[in-house]
Protein backbone atom coordinates (compact mmCIF):
# COMPACT_ATOMS: atom_id res chain seq x y z
CA UNK A 1 0.00 0.00 0.00
CA UNK A 2 1.31 3.43 -0.88
CA UNK A 3 2.26 5.67 2.03
CA UNK A 4 1.47 9.38 1.74
CA UNK A 5 3.26 12.41 3.17
CA UNK A 6 2.14 16.01 2.95
CA UNK A 7 4.56 18.82 3.83
CA UNK A 8 5.21 22.46 3.08
CA UNK A 9 8.70 22.03 1.64
CA UNK A 10 10.27 18.86 0.32
CA UNK A 11 14.02 18.93 -0.31
CA UNK A 12 15.39 16.16 -2.52
CA UNK A 13 19.00 15.56 -1.50
CA UNK A 14 20.76 16.30 1.77
CA UNK A 15 24.20 17.46 0.67
CA UNK A 16 25.75 20.90 0.61
CA UNK A 17 22.76 22.51 -1.12
CA UNK A 18 19.83 20.57 0.30
CA UNK A 19 20.98 20.73 3.91
CA UNK A 20 21.15 24.53 3.89
CA UNK A 21 17.69 24.91 2.31
CA UNK A 22 16.24 22.36 4.75
CA UNK A 23 17.58 24.25 7.75
CA UNK A 24 16.38 27.60 6.43
CA UNK A 25 12.91 26.15 5.78
CA UNK A 26 12.64 24.36 9.13
CA UNK A 27 13.71 27.35 11.17
CA UNK A 28 10.96 29.37 9.49
CA UNK A 29 8.48 26.87 10.96
CA UNK A 30 7.68 25.19 7.64
CA UNK A 31 6.94 21.46 7.66
CA UNK A 32 10.09 20.25 5.97
CA UNK A 33 10.94 16.81 4.63
CA UNK A 34 14.41 15.91 3.33
CA UNK A 35 14.56 12.90 1.03
CA UNK A 36 17.94 11.20 0.61
CA UNK A 37 18.68 8.25 -1.64
CA UNK A 38 21.60 7.08 0.48
CA UNK A 39 21.76 5.81 4.06
CA UNK A 40 21.91 7.76 7.31
CA UNK A 41 25.44 7.04 8.53
CA UNK A 42 26.61 8.50 11.83
CA UNK A 43 30.22 8.77 13.02
CA UNK A 44 29.82 5.71 15.23
CA UNK A 45 28.75 3.67 12.18
CA UNK A 46 31.92 4.51 10.27
CA UNK A 47 35.05 2.38 10.13
CA UNK A 48 38.50 3.18 8.75
CA UNK A 49 38.09 0.57 6.01
CA UNK A 50 37.80 2.07 2.52
CA UNK A 51 36.51 -1.25 1.23
CA UNK A 52 33.63 -1.08 3.69
CA UNK A 53 32.87 2.62 3.56
CA UNK A 54 33.16 3.54 -0.11
CA UNK A 55 30.27 1.32 -1.26
CA UNK A 56 28.26 2.62 1.68
CA UNK A 57 28.88 6.34 1.25
CA UNK A 58 29.55 6.91 -2.46
CA UNK A 59 27.14 7.16 -5.34
CA UNK A 60 27.22 3.93 -7.35
CA UNK A 61 29.67 2.54 -4.82
CA UNK A 62 32.35 4.91 -6.10
CA UNK A 63 32.17 3.36 -9.55
CA UNK A 64 30.47 6.22 -11.40
CA UNK A 65 32.03 6.84 -14.80
CA UNK A 66 31.30 9.05 -17.77
CA UNK A 67 29.82 7.34 -20.82
CA UNK A 68 33.23 7.02 -22.50
CA UNK A 69 34.47 5.28 -19.34
CA UNK A 70 37.63 7.38 -19.19
CA UNK A 71 36.73 9.57 -16.21
CA UNK A 72 35.76 8.61 -12.67
CA UNK A 73 33.11 10.89 -11.12
CA UNK A 74 33.09 10.70 -7.34
CA UNK A 75 30.00 11.86 -5.46
CA UNK A 76 28.58 11.09 -2.04
CA UNK A 77 25.32 9.20 -1.58
CA UNK A 78 24.38 9.37 2.06
CA UNK A 79 22.75 11.86 4.41
CA UNK A 80 25.06 14.87 4.19
CA UNK A 81 25.91 14.02 0.56
CA UNK A 82 29.37 14.66 -0.79
CA UNK A 83 30.28 16.78 2.23
CA UNK A 84 30.56 13.57 4.29
CA UNK A 85 33.31 12.23 2.01
CA UNK A 86 34.89 15.61 1.34
CA UNK A 87 37.82 17.39 2.92
CA UNK A 88 35.48 20.29 3.74
CA UNK A 89 37.67 22.69 1.80
CA UNK A 90 35.97 26.08 1.77
CA UNK A 91 37.34 28.12 -1.12
CA UNK A 92 35.48 31.02 -2.68
CA UNK A 93 34.95 31.32 -6.41
CA UNK A 94 36.60 34.36 -7.95
CA UNK A 95 34.67 37.49 -8.88
CA UNK A 96 35.36 36.63 -12.54
CA UNK A 97 33.24 33.51 -12.17
CA UNK A 98 30.20 35.51 -11.10
CA UNK A 99 30.80 38.02 -13.88
CA UNK A 100 30.73 35.10 -16.33
CA UNK A 101 27.52 33.84 -14.75
CA UNK A 102 25.89 37.26 -15.05
CA UNK A 103 26.96 37.33 -18.68
CA UNK A 104 25.07 34.07 -19.13
CA UNK A 105 21.92 35.54 -17.59
CA UNK A 106 22.22 34.48 -13.94
CA UNK A 107 21.48 37.25 -11.46
CA UNK A 108 24.07 36.40 -8.81
CA UNK A 109 25.82 39.46 -7.45
CA UNK A 110 29.34 39.32 -6.07
CA UNK A 111 28.21 41.24 -2.99
CA UNK A 112 25.35 38.82 -2.24
CA UNK A 113 27.77 35.92 -2.57
CA UNK A 114 30.28 37.61 -0.28
CA UNK A 115 27.66 37.99 2.44
CA UNK A 116 26.53 34.38 1.96
CA UNK A 117 30.12 33.07 2.01
CA UNK A 118 30.77 34.97 5.25
CA UNK A 119 27.66 33.45 6.82
CA UNK A 120 28.44 29.85 5.78
CA UNK A 121 32.09 30.05 6.79
CA UNK A 122 31.20 31.56 10.16
CA UNK A 123 28.66 28.83 10.89
CA UNK A 124 31.06 26.06 9.85
CA UNK A 125 34.00 27.54 11.73
CA UNK A 126 36.23 27.83 8.67
CA UNK A 127 39.91 28.18 9.45
CA UNK A 128 43.33 27.14 8.21
CA UNK A 129 44.45 23.65 9.28
CA UNK A 130 46.43 23.39 12.51
CA UNK A 131 50.13 23.01 11.81
CA UNK A 132 50.34 19.73 13.73
CA UNK A 133 48.04 17.97 11.24
CA UNK A 134 49.64 19.31 8.05
CA UNK A 135 51.41 16.65 5.96
CA UNK A 136 55.00 16.66 4.76
CA UNK A 137 53.62 16.64 1.23
CA UNK A 138 51.81 19.93 1.87
CA UNK A 139 54.94 21.51 3.35
CA UNK A 140 57.09 20.30 0.46
CA UNK A 141 54.65 21.58 -2.13
CA UNK A 142 54.39 24.91 -0.31
CA UNK A 143 58.18 25.28 -0.23
CA UNK A 144 58.64 24.10 -3.81
CA UNK A 145 55.91 26.34 -5.23
CA UNK A 146 57.40 29.36 -3.46
CA UNK A 147 60.84 28.44 -4.73
CA UNK A 148 59.62 28.65 -8.33
CA UNK A 149 58.02 32.04 -7.70
CA UNK A 150 54.43 30.97 -7.19
CA UNK A 151 52.08 31.95 -4.38
CA UNK A 152 50.49 28.86 -2.83
CA UNK A 153 47.92 29.40 -0.12
CA UNK A 154 46.66 27.61 2.94
CA UNK A 155 43.16 26.23 2.49
CA UNK A 156 40.25 27.36 4.58
CA UNK A 157 38.55 24.23 5.93
CA UNK A 158 35.90 23.28 8.42
CA UNK A 159 37.43 20.23 10.05
CA UNK A 160 36.56 21.02 13.66
CA UNK A 161 39.02 19.42 16.04
CA UNK A 162 40.72 17.43 13.28
CA UNK A 163 43.06 14.67 14.45
CA UNK A 164 44.79 14.46 11.08
CA UNK A 165 44.13 10.77 10.45
CA UNK A 166 43.98 11.28 6.65
CA UNK A 167 40.72 9.39 6.14
CA UNK A 168 38.39 12.32 5.33
CA UNK A 169 37.24 10.66 2.12
CA UNK A 170 35.59 7.76 3.93
CA UNK A 171 33.88 9.89 6.55
CA UNK A 172 35.16 11.21 9.86
CA UNK A 173 35.18 8.44 12.46
CA UNK A 174 36.08 11.00 15.10
CA UNK A 175 32.99 13.09 14.37
CA UNK A 176 35.22 16.15 14.12
CA UNK A 177 34.59 17.22 10.54
CA UNK A 178 31.93 19.90 10.27
CA UNK A 179 30.19 18.55 7.21
CA UNK A 180 26.51 19.00 6.31
CA UNK A 181 25.56 15.95 8.38
CA UNK A 182 26.96 17.33 11.63
CA UNK A 183 25.86 20.93 11.02
CA UNK A 184 23.00 22.00 8.75
CA UNK A 185 21.22 18.64 8.74
CA UNK A 186 21.46 18.37 12.52
CA UNK A 187 20.27 21.96 12.89
CA UNK A 188 17.41 21.31 10.48
CA UNK A 189 16.33 18.26 12.47
CA UNK A 190 16.55 20.26 15.71
CA UNK A 191 14.27 22.84 14.06
CA UNK A 192 11.73 20.14 13.18
CA UNK A 193 12.75 18.91 9.73
CA UNK A 194 12.46 15.19 9.04
CA UNK A 195 15.09 13.28 7.08
CA UNK A 196 14.01 10.24 5.10
CA UNK A 197 17.09 8.21 4.11
CA UNK A 198 17.20 5.23 1.70
CA UNK A 199 14.47 6.86 -0.34
CA UNK A 200 14.58 7.34 -4.07
CA UNK A 201 12.46 9.85 -5.95
CA UNK A 202 11.49 8.04 -9.13
CA UNK A 203 9.73 11.01 -10.71
CA UNK A 204 8.27 14.42 -10.05
CA UNK A 205 4.66 14.53 -11.20
CA UNK A 206 3.42 17.85 -12.51
CA UNK A 207 0.62 19.56 -14.37
CA UNK A 208 0.43 23.02 -15.94
CA UNK A 209 3.72 24.18 -14.48
CA UNK A 210 3.02 23.01 -10.94
CA UNK A 211 4.41 20.04 -9.14
CA UNK A 212 1.60 17.80 -7.98
CA UNK A 213 3.66 15.22 -6.12
CA UNK A 214 6.72 13.02 -5.88
CA UNK A 215 6.64 9.34 -6.71
CA UNK A 216 9.15 7.60 -4.45
CA UNK A 217 10.27 4.24 -3.19
CA UNK A 218 11.60 3.91 0.33
CA UNK A 219 13.51 1.40 2.42
CA UNK A 220 15.12 -1.87 1.44
CA UNK A 221 11.86 -3.25 0.18
CA UNK A 222 11.34 -0.20 -2.03
CA UNK A 223 7.91 0.46 -0.61
CA UNK A 224 5.95 3.04 -2.57
CA UNK A 225 5.65 6.53 -1.12
CA UNK A 226 3.92 9.61 -2.47
CA UNK A 227 4.88 13.03 -1.23
CA UNK A 228 2.87 16.19 -1.70
CA UNK A 229 4.58 19.48 -1.03
CA UNK A 230 3.75 23.11 -1.68
CA UNK A 231 7.36 23.63 -2.74
CA UNK A 232 9.86 21.10 -4.04
CA UNK A 233 13.58 21.86 -4.00
CA UNK A 234 15.78 19.52 -6.01
CA UNK A 235 19.31 19.31 -4.59
CA UNK A 236 20.44 15.86 -5.70
CA UNK A 237 23.79 17.00 -7.08
CA UNK A 238 25.14 17.95 -10.46
CA UNK A 239 24.33 14.67 -12.16
CA UNK A 240 21.41 13.46 -10.04
CA UNK A 241 19.30 16.62 -10.22
CA UNK A 242 19.40 16.72 -14.01
CA UNK A 243 18.70 13.00 -14.20
CA UNK A 244 15.64 13.37 -11.97
CA UNK A 245 14.23 16.28 -13.96
CA UNK A 246 14.76 14.40 -17.22
CA UNK A 247 13.14 11.27 -15.79
CA UNK A 248 10.19 13.48 -14.87
CA UNK A 249 9.74 14.74 -18.42
CA UNK A 250 11.27 18.18 -17.73
CA UNK A 251 13.64 18.90 -20.57
CA UNK A 252 14.19 22.58 -21.26
CA UNK A 253 18.02 22.98 -21.19
CA UNK A 254 18.14 20.26 -18.53
CA UNK A 255 21.36 18.26 -18.60
CA UNK A 256 23.29 20.97 -20.43
CA UNK A 257 26.47 22.90 -19.63
CA UNK A 258 27.96 20.18 -17.44
CA UNK A 259 31.51 20.93 -16.33
CA UNK A 260 34.03 19.57 -13.87
CA UNK A 261 36.99 20.47 -11.77
CA UNK A 262 38.70 17.47 -13.29
CA UNK A 263 42.25 16.42 -13.14
CA UNK A 264 45.08 14.02 -12.74
CA UNK A 265 47.70 13.28 -10.14
CA UNK A 266 51.47 13.79 -10.34
CA UNK A 267 53.82 12.07 -7.95
CA UNK A 268 57.09 13.36 -6.59
CA UNK A 269 59.52 10.73 -5.31
CA UNK A 270 61.66 11.95 -2.42
CA UNK A 271 64.71 10.40 -0.83
CA UNK A 272 63.41 10.78 2.69
CA UNK A 273 60.21 9.10 4.00
CA UNK A 274 57.28 11.52 4.12
CA UNK A 275 54.50 9.35 5.58
CA UNK A 276 51.95 11.85 4.36
CA UNK A 277 49.08 9.40 4.83
CA UNK A 278 49.25 10.16 8.55
CA UNK A 279 48.07 13.77 8.34
CA UNK A 280 45.35 16.06 7.02
CA UNK A 281 44.78 14.94 3.42
CA UNK A 282 45.13 18.40 1.90
CA UNK A 283 46.02 21.76 3.36
CA UNK A 284 47.51 23.92 0.58
CA UNK A 285 46.56 24.90 -2.94
CA UNK A 286 47.88 26.94 -5.80
CA UNK A 287 45.76 28.64 -8.45
CA UNK A 288 46.97 29.27 -11.99
CA UNK A 289 45.56 29.97 -15.41
CA UNK A 290 42.48 27.74 -15.49
CA UNK A 291 43.81 25.21 -13.01
CA UNK A 292 44.11 24.66 -9.29
CA UNK A 293 46.73 22.40 -7.73
CA UNK A 294 46.05 20.60 -4.48
CA UNK A 295 48.75 18.60 -2.73
CA UNK A 296 47.12 15.54 -1.24
CA UNK A 297 47.51 12.04 0.08
CA UNK A 298 45.07 9.15 0.33
CA UNK A 299 44.61 6.05 2.45
CA UNK A 300 46.06 2.90 1.01
CA UNK A 301 43.28 1.62 -1.24
CA UNK A 302 42.72 4.99 -2.89
CA UNK A 303 46.48 5.41 -3.20
CA UNK A 304 46.66 2.10 -5.04
CA UNK A 305 43.81 3.17 -7.34
CA UNK A 306 45.36 6.54 -8.19
CA UNK A 307 48.92 5.28 -8.63
CA UNK A 308 49.78 4.49 -12.26
CA UNK A 309 51.41 1.38 -13.59
CA UNK A 310 50.62 -2.10 -14.79
CA UNK A 311 51.86 -5.37 -13.32
CA UNK A 312 55.11 -5.12 -11.34
CA UNK A 313 55.69 -1.40 -11.90
CA UNK A 314 52.57 -0.59 -9.88
CA UNK A 315 53.69 -2.71 -6.94
CA UNK A 316 57.15 -1.14 -7.10
CA UNK A 317 55.62 2.33 -6.72
CA UNK A 318 53.45 1.17 -3.82
CA UNK A 319 56.61 -0.03 -2.09
CA UNK A 320 57.92 3.56 -2.35
CA UNK A 321 54.68 4.92 -0.88
CA UNK A 322 56.29 6.38 2.24
CA UNK A 323 58.52 8.51 -0.01
CA UNK A 324 55.88 9.67 -2.48
CA UNK A 325 54.19 13.08 -2.55
CA UNK A 326 51.00 13.35 -4.59
CA UNK A 327 49.46 16.50 -6.02
CA UNK A 328 46.49 16.86 -8.33
CA UNK A 329 46.05 19.47 -11.04
CA UNK A 330 42.36 20.29 -11.35
CA UNK A 331 41.20 22.02 -14.51
CA UNK A 332 38.06 24.12 -14.66
CA UNK A 333 36.74 22.41 -17.76
CA UNK A 334 34.61 23.99 -20.40
CA UNK A 335 30.88 23.41 -19.91
CA UNK A 336 30.55 21.00 -22.82
CA UNK A 337 29.24 17.97 -20.93
CA UNK A 338 25.69 16.68 -20.83
CA UNK A 339 23.58 14.54 -18.56
CA UNK A 340 21.16 12.56 -20.68
CA UNK A 341 18.68 9.79 -20.34
CA UNK A 342 19.75 6.86 -22.45
CA UNK A 343 17.33 6.87 -25.39
CA UNK A 344 17.17 3.08 -25.35
CA UNK A 345 17.37 2.13 -21.69
CA UNK A 346 16.32 5.23 -19.81
CA UNK A 347 19.22 5.32 -17.34
CA UNK A 348 21.28 8.45 -16.68
CA UNK A 349 24.47 9.01 -18.64
CA UNK A 350 27.12 11.67 -18.17
CA UNK A 351 28.65 12.56 -21.49
CA UNK A 352 31.87 14.50 -21.27
CA UNK A 353 35.15 14.70 -23.14
CA UNK A 354 37.85 17.17 -22.17
CA UNK A 355 38.46 19.79 -24.86
CA UNK A 356 41.86 20.68 -26.30
CA UNK A 357 41.87 23.77 -24.08
CA UNK A 358 41.19 21.62 -21.02
CA UNK A 359 44.06 19.28 -21.92
CA UNK A 360 46.46 22.19 -22.51
CA UNK A 361 45.59 23.68 -19.14
CA UNK A 362 45.92 20.31 -17.46
CA UNK A 363 49.41 19.88 -18.86
CA UNK A 364 50.32 23.37 -17.65
CA UNK A 365 49.11 22.51 -14.14
CA UNK A 366 50.93 19.16 -14.14
CA UNK A 367 54.15 20.82 -15.27
CA UNK A 368 53.86 23.31 -12.42
CA UNK A 369 53.54 20.42 -9.95
CA UNK A 370 56.65 18.81 -11.39
CA UNK A 371 58.58 22.10 -11.15
CA UNK A 372 57.51 22.59 -7.54
CA UNK A 373 58.36 19.04 -6.49
CA UNK A 374 61.77 19.21 -8.16
CA UNK A 375 62.39 22.54 -6.43
CA UNK A 376 61.48 20.86 -3.14
CA UNK A 377 64.03 18.12 -3.72
CA UNK A 378 62.20 15.33 -5.54
CA UNK A 379 64.52 12.85 -7.20
CA UNK A 380 62.02 12.02 -9.95
CA UNK A 381 58.45 12.73 -11.04
CA UNK A 382 55.95 10.04 -11.97
CA UNK A 383 53.55 11.15 -14.71
CA UNK A 384 49.83 10.27 -14.61
CA UNK A 385 49.95 8.05 -17.69
CA UNK A 386 48.56 4.54 -17.27
CA UNK A 387 52.00 3.06 -17.96
CA UNK A 388 54.63 4.41 -15.61
CA UNK A 389 56.65 7.22 -17.15
CA UNK A 390 59.08 9.27 -15.12
CA UNK A 391 60.95 12.53 -15.43
CA UNK A 392 64.31 12.27 -13.75
CA UNK A 393 65.57 15.81 -14.21
CA UNK A 394 64.05 19.32 -14.34
CA UNK A 395 65.69 19.63 -17.76
CA UNK A 396 63.17 17.12 -19.10
CA UNK A 397 60.02 18.94 -17.98
CA UNK A 398 58.92 19.43 -21.58
CA UNK A 399 57.97 15.75 -21.56
CA UNK A 400 54.85 16.70 -19.60
CA UNK A 401 53.56 18.28 -22.81
CA UNK A 402 54.17 15.22 -24.92
CA UNK A 403 53.50 12.29 -22.60
CA UNK A 404 49.79 12.17 -23.46
CA UNK A 405 47.45 13.59 -26.05
CA UNK A 406 44.03 12.88 -24.58
CA UNK A 407 42.71 12.23 -21.11
CA UNK A 408 42.04 8.64 -22.17
CA UNK A 409 45.76 7.99 -21.78
CA UNK A 410 45.91 9.06 -18.13
CA UNK A 411 44.11 8.47 -14.85
CA UNK A 412 41.55 11.25 -15.04
CA UNK A 413 38.71 11.98 -12.67
CA UNK A 414 36.61 14.49 -10.80
CA UNK A 415 34.93 14.85 -7.45
CA UNK A 416 33.46 18.21 -8.42
CA UNK A 417 30.82 17.89 -11.16
CA UNK A 418 28.93 21.10 -11.84
CA UNK A 419 26.14 22.33 -14.11
CA UNK A 420 23.41 20.41 -15.82
CA UNK A 421 20.61 22.76 -14.78
CA UNK A 422 22.31 26.04 -15.65
CA UNK A 423 20.89 29.20 -14.15
CA UNK A 424 19.86 31.86 -16.65
CA UNK A 425 16.86 34.10 -16.97
CA UNK A 426 17.19 33.57 -20.71
CA UNK A 427 14.91 30.58 -21.39
CA UNK A 428 17.05 29.68 -24.41
CA UNK A 429 20.06 29.08 -22.16
CA UNK A 430 18.84 28.24 -18.70
CA UNK A 431 17.05 25.36 -17.03
CA UNK A 432 16.59 27.44 -13.88
CA UNK A 433 15.77 31.12 -13.42
CA UNK A 434 17.68 33.43 -11.08
CA UNK A 435 15.05 32.81 -8.40
CA UNK A 436 16.10 29.13 -8.62
CA UNK A 437 12.73 28.06 -10.07
CA UNK A 438 12.76 25.68 -13.02
CA UNK A 439 11.71 27.49 -16.20
CA UNK A 440 8.01 26.96 -16.71
CA UNK A 441 7.33 26.05 -13.05
CA UNK A 442 6.35 28.12 -10.05
CA UNK A 443 6.88 25.63 -7.20
CA UNK A 444 9.82 23.55 -8.42
CA UNK A 445 13.33 24.76 -7.62
CA UNK A 446 16.93 23.58 -7.89
CA UNK A 447 19.59 24.52 -5.33
CA UNK A 448 22.86 22.67 -5.80
CA UNK A 449 25.97 22.66 -8.01
CA UNK A 450 23.85 21.79 -11.01
CA UNK A 451 22.75 25.42 -11.32
CA UNK A 452 26.33 26.64 -11.89
CA UNK A 453 26.32 28.07 -15.42
CA UNK A 454 30.08 27.55 -15.67
CA UNK A 455 32.83 25.79 -13.77
CA UNK A 456 34.09 27.66 -10.71
CA UNK A 457 37.58 26.12 -10.72
CA UNK A 458 37.90 25.46 -6.99
CA UNK A 459 36.32 23.01 -4.54
CA UNK A 460 32.61 23.82 -4.78
CA UNK A 461 31.16 23.16 -1.29
CA UNK A 462 31.53 26.76 -0.09
CA UNK A 463 29.88 28.10 -3.23
CA UNK A 464 27.08 25.52 -3.18
CA UNK A 465 26.26 26.32 0.43
CA UNK A 466 26.46 30.08 -0.12
CA UNK A 467 24.28 29.84 -3.21
CA UNK A 468 21.81 27.61 -1.35
CA UNK A 469 21.65 30.22 1.37
CA UNK A 470 20.71 32.83 -1.24
CA UNK A 471 18.32 30.35 -2.84
CA UNK A 472 16.57 29.79 0.48
CA UNK A 473 15.74 33.47 0.76
CA UNK A 474 14.36 33.61 -2.78
CA UNK A 475 12.49 30.29 -2.61
CA UNK A 476 11.03 30.49 0.88
CA UNK A 477 9.85 34.06 0.40
CA UNK A 478 7.22 32.45 -1.84
CA UNK A 479 6.24 29.72 0.65
Amino acid sequence: MTRHETVDVCVIGSGAGGSVVAWEAAKRGLRTLVIERGPYVRAEDLTHSELEMIPHLYKDGGLQLNTAMDMFIMQGSCVGGSTVISNMVLLRASDDVFATWRGLGADVSTEAMRVAYDDVEMRLGACEPDDDVVSRTSHLFLDGARAIGRTPRWMMKSLGKCRGCGNCNVGCTFGAKRDALTTYIRWAEDAGARVLPDTNVEAITHRNGRVTGLRCTTGRRREPLEVRARQVVVAAGAVGSSALLLASGIHRNVGTRVSFNAGAMMIGDFAQPLDSYDADQMSVYLEGDGWCIEATHNPIMSTALTTPGWLGEHGALLRRQRHLAYAGALVATEAVGRVVQSPVWGHEETRFAATDRDVTRLKDGLRTIAEAFFAAGATRIVLPTHRVQTIDSPRDLDRVSTCFRSTREISFGSAHPQGGNPMSDDPRLGAVRSDFSVHGFDNLFVADASVFPSCIGVNPIDTIMALASIASGRILARA
Binding site: D60, G61, Q64, T173, D278, I300, L311, G315, W345, R387
Partner: protein
Protein backbone atom coordinates in the same frame (compact mmCIF):
# COMPACT_ATOMS: atom_id res chain seq x y z
CA UNK B 1 7.06 -1.73 -21.57
CA UNK B 2 10.56 -0.29 -21.31
CA UNK B 3 13.27 -2.39 -19.66
CA UNK B 4 16.17 -0.73 -17.91
CA UNK B 5 19.66 -1.78 -19.00
CA UNK B 6 20.49 -3.26 -15.63
CA UNK B 7 17.31 -5.35 -15.71
CA UNK B 8 18.34 -6.75 -19.08
CA UNK B 9 21.86 -7.37 -17.78
CA UNK B 10 20.57 -9.30 -14.81
CA UNK B 11 18.48 -11.48 -17.14
CA UNK B 12 21.42 -12.17 -19.46
CA UNK B 13 24.17 -12.64 -16.85
CA UNK B 14 24.45 -15.96 -14.99
CA UNK B 15 22.25 -16.49 -11.94
CA UNK B 16 23.81 -15.42 -8.64
CA UNK B 17 23.23 -17.27 -5.39
CA UNK B 18 21.39 -15.38 -2.63
CA UNK B 19 23.71 -13.22 -0.55
CA UNK B 20 26.34 -13.09 -3.27
CA UNK B 21 27.07 -10.45 -5.92
CA UNK B 22 29.04 -12.51 -8.43
CA UNK B 23 28.42 -15.74 -10.27
CA UNK B 24 31.19 -18.29 -9.74
CA UNK B 25 32.54 -17.77 -13.28
CA UNK B 26 32.86 -14.02 -12.66
CA UNK B 27 34.51 -14.60 -9.27
CA UNK B 28 37.02 -16.89 -11.00
CA UNK B 29 37.88 -14.20 -13.57
CA UNK B 30 38.86 -11.87 -10.71
CA UNK B 31 40.94 -14.63 -9.12
CA UNK B 32 42.78 -15.26 -12.39
CA UNK B 33 43.23 -11.54 -13.03
CA UNK B 34 44.59 -11.08 -9.51
CA UNK B 35 47.19 -13.81 -10.13
CA UNK B 36 48.58 -11.70 -12.94
CA UNK B 37 48.11 -8.14 -11.72
CA UNK B 38 49.31 -8.76 -8.17
CA UNK B 39 52.33 -10.81 -9.05
CA UNK B 40 55.06 -9.32 -6.85
CA UNK B 41 52.74 -6.72 -5.30
CA UNK B 42 53.34 -5.81 -1.65
CA UNK B 43 50.06 -7.28 -0.44
CA UNK B 44 50.02 -10.66 1.35
CA UNK B 45 46.51 -11.49 0.16
CA UNK B 46 45.56 -14.53 -1.91
CA UNK B 47 43.80 -14.06 -5.26
CA UNK B 48 40.75 -15.83 -3.80
CA UNK B 49 40.63 -13.34 -0.93
CA UNK B 50 40.89 -10.49 -3.44
CA UNK B 51 37.84 -11.85 -5.29
CA UNK B 52 35.99 -12.31 -2.00
CA UNK B 53 36.77 -8.70 -1.04
CA UNK B 54 35.47 -7.45 -4.39
CA UNK B 55 32.31 -9.46 -3.91
CA UNK B 56 31.85 -8.07 -0.40
CA UNK B 57 32.28 -4.58 -1.82
CA UNK B 58 29.60 -5.21 -4.44
CA UNK B 59 27.19 -6.68 -1.89
CA UNK B 60 27.60 -3.54 0.20
CA UNK B 61 27.19 -1.29 -2.84
CA UNK B 62 23.67 -2.67 -3.12
CA UNK B 63 23.84 -4.04 -6.62
CA UNK B 64 23.36 -0.73 -8.40
CA UNK B 65 26.64 -1.04 -10.27
CA UNK B 66 27.35 -4.70 -9.64
CA UNK B 67 26.04 -5.63 -13.04
CA UNK B 68 28.64 -3.40 -14.70
CA UNK B 69 31.47 -5.15 -12.86
CA UNK B 70 29.91 -8.48 -13.75
CA UNK B 71 29.64 -7.45 -17.39
CA UNK B 72 33.30 -6.38 -17.28
CA UNK B 73 34.24 -9.84 -15.96
CA UNK B 74 32.34 -11.47 -18.80
CA UNK B 75 34.19 -9.26 -21.31
CA UNK B 76 37.53 -10.16 -19.73
CA UNK B 77 36.62 -13.83 -19.94
CA UNK B 78 35.42 -13.82 -23.53
CA UNK B 79 37.55 -11.26 -25.37
CA UNK B 80 40.67 -13.49 -25.41
CA UNK B 81 38.67 -15.92 -27.57
CA UNK B 82 39.21 -13.46 -30.41
CA UNK B 83 43.02 -13.63 -30.19
CA UNK B 84 43.90 -16.84 -28.31
CA UNK B 85 40.95 -19.04 -29.12
CA UNK B 86 40.49 -19.70 -25.40
CA UNK B 87 38.80 -17.99 -22.47
CA UNK B 88 40.79 -15.86 -20.02
CA UNK B 89 40.45 -18.38 -17.20
CA UNK B 90 41.69 -21.18 -19.48
CA UNK B 91 45.00 -19.41 -20.11
CA UNK B 92 48.16 -20.07 -18.12
CA UNK B 93 49.59 -17.26 -16.00
CA UNK B 94 52.26 -16.61 -18.63
CA UNK B 95 49.62 -16.40 -21.37
CA UNK B 96 47.47 -14.07 -19.29
CA UNK B 97 50.47 -11.89 -18.58
CA UNK B 98 51.30 -11.74 -22.30
CA UNK B 99 47.70 -10.83 -23.03
CA UNK B 100 47.93 -7.93 -20.58
CA UNK B 101 51.23 -6.71 -22.05
CA UNK B 102 50.34 -7.09 -25.71
CA UNK B 103 46.66 -6.23 -25.69
CA UNK B 104 45.47 -4.42 -22.59
CA UNK B 105 48.45 -2.08 -22.23
CA UNK B 106 49.00 -1.42 -25.89
CA UNK B 107 45.56 -2.23 -27.23
CA UNK B 108 42.62 -0.29 -28.60
CA UNK B 109 39.40 0.94 -27.07
CA UNK B 110 37.81 -2.40 -26.17
CA UNK B 111 41.01 -3.78 -24.67
CA UNK B 112 41.53 -0.62 -22.63
CA UNK B 113 38.03 -1.04 -21.21
CA UNK B 114 38.78 -4.67 -20.39
CA UNK B 115 42.04 -3.51 -18.76
CA UNK B 116 40.00 -1.68 -16.13
CA UNK B 117 39.75 -5.03 -14.37
CA UNK B 118 43.09 -4.08 -12.78
CA UNK B 119 41.33 -1.40 -10.74
CA UNK B 120 38.84 -3.96 -9.46
CA UNK B 121 41.69 -6.27 -8.50
CA UNK B 122 43.57 -3.46 -6.73
CA UNK B 123 40.43 -2.52 -4.86
CA UNK B 124 40.08 -6.06 -3.55
CA UNK B 125 43.78 -6.32 -2.69
CA UNK B 126 44.63 -2.95 -1.21
CA UNK B 127 41.24 -2.61 0.47
CA UNK B 128 42.17 -5.57 2.63
CA UNK B 129 43.39 -4.72 6.13
CA UNK B 130 46.58 -6.71 5.48
CA UNK B 131 47.62 -4.27 2.75
CA UNK B 132 48.72 -1.89 5.49
CA UNK B 133 52.02 -3.56 6.26
CA UNK B 134 55.76 -2.98 6.43
CA UNK B 135 56.17 -3.30 2.67
CA UNK B 136 53.66 -0.62 1.75
CA UNK B 137 54.58 1.44 4.79
CA UNK B 138 50.99 2.28 5.72
CA UNK B 139 50.14 2.02 9.40
CA UNK B 140 46.43 1.56 10.21
CA UNK B 141 44.98 4.42 12.24
CA UNK B 142 44.37 2.42 15.44
CA UNK B 143 48.01 1.27 15.45
CA UNK B 144 49.52 4.74 15.06
CA UNK B 145 51.09 5.84 18.30
CA UNK B 146 49.29 9.16 18.59
CA UNK B 147 45.92 7.47 18.08
CA UNK B 148 46.61 4.75 20.61
CA UNK B 149 47.19 7.41 23.25
CA UNK B 150 44.35 9.60 24.49
CA UNK B 151 41.94 8.02 22.08
CA UNK B 152 38.45 8.86 23.25
CA UNK B 153 36.81 5.91 21.54
CA UNK B 154 37.94 2.47 20.44
CA UNK B 155 38.64 2.40 16.73
CA UNK B 156 37.20 -0.27 14.51
CA UNK B 157 39.37 -2.12 12.06
CA UNK B 158 38.16 -4.05 9.07
CA UNK B 159 38.39 -7.78 9.47
Amino acid sequence: MKFRLEEVAYRVLPRVEPGRALAHAEWLVIVKAAEVFLDGAPVPVSPETVADNVERFLVRAGGNRAWRIRALCVMVELLPLSVCGRRFTQLSIAERRRLVEERMIAGGRLWSVVGKIRFIVRMGAYGDARAANAETGFVPIPLRRRFRKNDPQPMQVAS
